[in-house]
């Protein structure tokens, strides 16, 4: 099912792009990555919105945790009530990730199958091209700048090791620019810890992937990261200031203590809030006052 409806069409599209782009597999991977990223951008936006909404609720969640620390059942009920009041689904941030996961896997498979370095991979490819006329493009040229794109950088010329490095740098940039700053500067705050850990861990993990998997996949990672950065920049969500030491990490939040949401707890690219965000915060405060 997964192969028939996702992997095989991916392989076919990539092969078709290869033909259209002058038998250039690197261009084909890059263009295909851009297409995939654009197609999944609504998911990214949703994920971003969901993450932000969840972060805005963190102070209140913490307050509830303190209030019901001895009654897990009531805590759960209160949390659900809070989510309901603010129209937030705690799982909606994960859903896009789960949808992207098979896409990532399919793309990885598509690169492996389409480039078909071994006899087995090539024979598998024979039944995967769903459009007629693409057979004559096979086998796709898998050498680029002296590198075999089907092999990991470790078994390619030394300069292929630049790819894991590029993957690390672009992943780090992406994480740094895009991952929302924690709403809380409490060093013991778990969310903040997770955010910090993930922002360090993810680029390392992706670099490790790039080191162990084919160079073709590294191209996907690098292009994907760049596309994400561009996408977020265009949406005004990339926090370039972070790169130059102008942290947007908010001031210690009185809201955590007082239970009120201060403007500084929102995940804004800069300490200066937009009008829309001010309006939103105002509404939240009004709702909170009403509920209390």
């Amino acid at each position: 099912m997964f192969e028939t409806f996702i992997i095989n069409p991916f392989i076919t599209i990539m092969t078709a792009l290869y033909g259209l782009l002058g038998n250039n597999i690197v261009l084909a991977i890059a263009v295909f990555t851009v297409i995939i990223r654009l197609a999944t951008s609504p998911l990214l936006i949703k994920q971003q919105q969901s993450t932000k909404a969840m972060q805005e609720l963190q102070p209140k969640l913490k307050k509830l945790q303190e209030k019901y620390k001895n009654d897990r059942e009531k805590l759960a009920q209160a949390q659900m009530q809070l989510y309901k009041e603010h129209g937030v689904n705690p799982l909606s941030g994960c859903l896009p990730l789960f949808i992207q996961l098979p896409i990532l896997l399919a793309l990885y498979q598509a690169i492996i199958y389409a480039l078909a370095a071994t006899p087995f991979q090539l024979i598998d490819l024979s039944s995967r091209l769903v459009l007629p006329g693409l057979d004559s493009l096979v086998p796709l040229q898998n050498m680029w700048l002296g590198m075999d794109l089907t092999l990991p950088p470790t078994v390619n010329p030394v300069y292929a090791l630049a790819f894991p490095a590029l993957v690390f740098v672009t992943s780090w940039l992406q994480t740094k620019l895009i991952m929302p700053a924690p709403t809380n500067t409490d060093p013991n705050d778990q969310t903040a810890q997770v955010t910090r850990t993930m922002s360090t861990l993810m680029p390392v993990m992706f670099a490790m992937f790039a080191l162990s998997f084919s160079v073709g996949l590294s191209i996907y990672f690098v292009v994907g990261n760049i596309v994400s950065i561009v996408q977020y920049s265009l949406m005004g969500k990339a926090e370039w200031g972070k790169l130059f030491g102008r942290s947007s990490t908010p001031e210690p939040a009185p809201a955590v203590v007082t239970g009120k949401v201060s403007s500084s707890t929102t995940n804004t690219p800069s300490p200066v809030l937009s009008k829309a965000e001010k309006r939103k915060n105002k509404k939240m405060r009004a709702r909170e006052a009403k509920s209390s």
Binding site: L104, I123, S126, S127, D135, V138, Q141
Partner: protein
């Protein structure tokens, strides 16, 4: 912490799934190569092992003249074997053969003692640290050879001609100079023929010309003495099978779902007279030609029989031609085409009535062995093995000691070889049993 765990779980899932899917790099399909029809031995190169099987019993062979049961486990060098070995002519009583693995190495094997060998014929229990020949690329297809050279197709770029040197035939043992000269040049590269995308099929050697099918869609003709190109012709897809010559015409299938007929005029092809017909999938096996009939299977799962007595252009119009979907998945392996056995006058035929017209047998990617009527293409029977069949089938003719057998190999370790009786189509043995 939950999110951290979730993140790590996702990463682990990606790693595992990506690692498990689509990377069939650790397998090879067994190459079965009949070595010696008198001794009834099959040489099998599969994954990391090399062994010789007695096709009657399905056991490792100990032969009449050898001192060893024949298996060389090659785990320590992590090779994957796809190719058949070739025998070399050497000075001693023991026969040496040369086999290539997929990791760019060629090994000398002492056939009689089932051990690795070095150039002077010593029997080594483990592969030598340095292989006798280090190839500049992967070897996937069988070699071609003549008296002087071995022609090795490499899957990345080219074909290399390796001098046999002391293993060549025809040298005078008493002529020390001749011996020294050959000794020095043993396994040197005589010439190298570059192609764009590598060679995945055994080149055809005919009258001093090497016909090289390539993945860059070209068929090249090369002078075996010099390695110089005589001519080339571009076809509509990659070429992964050896061409076959019949009536001064070359026949070859392509990944472009075509079968080509290339008439040769004084050894030269003529693009004007090039004929091709469409088939139903990639062609990754050589045609089999018997009695002006060409038999071919494709990865679309079809088996074709074409009457080429008047050439390929009119083949489909002939009443003798047929094309059948065998419905067992794609077919990589070359079809096994057998004549109806001859019946002596006054004797009862000892074969089934359905074989009267001859039989075509194919092994499929879905793990079926399918018997078809050679004259009509009608499916006689199918046996399910359940494991992918990619290597060519082997026919073991009947003798006083055994019935006719068909040997099939799969890609799975636990059923690397499966033997069937030709007549009853019942399974006889599997290896390993």
């Amino acid at each position: 912490m939950k999110r951290l765990k979730l993140g790590l779980l996702l990463i682990a899932a990606v790693t595992l799934t990506a690692g498990c899917l689509g990377r069939r790099t650790d397998v090879s399909w067994a190459d079965i190569h009949p070595l010696n029809t008198e001794q009834q031995e099959l040489f099998v190169s599969y994954k990391t092992d090399l062994y010789v099987i007695n096709p009657i019993t399905g056991n490792l062979s100990d032969g009449d003249t050898r001192e060893a049961t024949w298996q060389i486990e090659g785990n320590e060098f992590g090779a994957e074997f796809y190719t058949s070995p070739i025998f070399l002519n050497n000075r001693g009583d023991e026969r040496l053969m040369l086999v290539a693995d997929y990791n760019n190495r060629m090994w000398l094997i002492n056939y009689d003692r089932a051990c690795f060998s070095n150039l002077v014929g010593s029997c080594l229990s483990a592969p030598p640290e340095t292989p006798p020949i280090q190839l500049p690329g992967h070897t996937f297809a069988d070699f071609a050879q003549d008296d002087e050279r071995i022609y090795v197709p490499l899957s990345e770029h080219n074909v290399i001609a390796i001098k046999k040197g002391i293993f060549a035939t025809g040298w005078d043992e008493t002529d020390e100079d001749e011996y020294d000269r050959r000794d020095r040049e043993t396994f040197d590269i005589a010439w190298e023929f570059e192609t764009d995308r590598g060679v995945w099929a055994q080149p055809l050697l005919l009258d001093g010309v090497l016909y090289i099918p390539t993945m860059d869609h070209h068929l090249y003709a090369v002078d075996t003495e010099t390695g110089e190109e005589l001519w080339h012709i571009q076809l509509d897809g990659a070429l992964a099978s050896t061409p076959v010559v019949h009536n001064n015409r070359l026949y070859i299938g392509t990944f472009g779902r075509s079968l080509y007929e290339i008439p040769l005029n004084n050894g030269q092809p003529s693009e004007d007279t090039l004929v091709h017909i469409d088939v139903n999938g990639w062609v990754w096996n050589s045609p089999v030609i018997i009695d002006d009939m060409l038999y071919l299977a494709d990865l679309g799962g079809y088996v074709h029989a074409l009457d080429i007595s008047q050439g390929l252009a009119t083949a489909k119009d002939s009443p003798r031609s047929w094309s059948v979907n065998a419905k067992g998945g794609g077919i990589r392996a070359e079809p096994l085409v057998l004549d109806a056995p001859t019946v002596r006058e006054g004797e009862e035929p000892d074969f089934p009535a359905e074989y009267e017209d001859g039989v075509v047998i194919v092994g499929t990617r879905e793990g079926q062995v399918i018997w078809l009527n050679r004259a009509t293409g009608e499916i006689i029977d199918r046996q399910e093995i359940g494991e992918e069949i990619l290597a060519d089938l082997v026919f073991i003719p009947p003798s006083d000691e055994n019935e006719a057998l068909v040997i099939v190999s799969t890609v799975k370790d636990n059923r690397a070889l499966v033997a069937f009786f030709l007549n009853t189509r019942q399974q006889v043995w599997t290896y390993p049993s």
